[in-house]
């Protein structure tokens, strides 16, 4: 039987931060915004999330959340995995060209 208190990274205390890193908050906010805009129903989102959680039970929760978001965005034919992957590379390039401390922005594109 697992002792919850022995799990690394799990605090049983009150008042832990809601998000540990900014990207978690963004990934969370994107899902809520898409649902607000009726891109998918909450049931559809829960199914997508449960599928990933079951596949990777020990993965960080918000990493699973993000993978589920990529999956649903692809399966709903909003944006394909290929397009996402291409855009991700553009962001890495943009970061490499941005001096440290300045906001990273994509080069304007047509």
């Amino acid at each position: 039987m697992t002792d919850l208190s022995l799990l690394p990274g799990i605090s049983l205390h009150e008042n832990e931060p809601v998000f540990n890193e900014p990207w978690e908050a963004q990934a969370f906010g994107i899902v809520i915004a898409l649902h607000d805009n009726e891109v998918f129903s909450w049931d559809e989102w829960v199914s997508a999330l449960v599928k990933v959680l079951n596949e990777h039970p020990n993965e960080d929760y918000y990493k699973n959340w993000l993978s589920a978001l990529e999956n649903i965005v692809d399966s709903k034919k909003l944006i394909s995995f290929d397009t996402l992957s291409h855009r991700k590379a553009l962001w890495h390039e943009a970061a490499a060209q941005t001096p440290h401390g300045e906001p990273i922005q994509l080069p304007s594109h047509t």
Binding site: T2, G9, S11, V18, W23, L66, E70, I79, L84, K88
Partner: protein, 205 residues
Amino acid sequence: MHSHDDDDHSHLTDIEARVRALESLLGEKGYINSTAVDEIVQTYEKKIGPQNGAHVVAKAWTDKQFNDWLRKDATAAIHSLGYTSRQGEHMEAVFNSPDTHHLVVCTLCSCYPWSVLGLPPTWYKSPPYRSKAVIDPRGVLADFGVHLPEHTSIEVHDSTAEIRYLVIPERPANTDDLDEKALSQLVTRNSMIGTAILAPAEKTK
């Protein structure tokens, strides 16, 4: 001197780049806008949290009519205080008593009463809690330092996308002279999930 060629420019982790890719593309295609996303994040970080649930609990302790309403139609009673779920699920309030202690879990994923408790803590989303709460609720409570009398039965409630539970803990002893506002300060997040019980208040002189 060492050269640090990589240190003079910015760097995104792989996961940050994935999030930026999603946000920029979804924004360009008009499915979301970044201001709305930022507002949602702000709301969940600052405005929605266990203080909402604590308000509901304190009102249930002090207002008999509200208490009855909460038992019959928790969704409407909670809505009357201004706490509404964007996901549209129904709320059910479960009341602890000396005979029954209520414990809430989501065995499937992490369904949680966001409108009254904010976002779930890490342990609530963890596989061990999700599986152990149903099989061995008394053991889970012991992990949290809660030891109930043998005669108190434990009811476990499994949340879903459609229905979420709020535990109304027992009002602590020595609180007869406290008003709703002071009472709400005593209510902890974990007590509203069922993984804590409220200690008696310090006796005032």
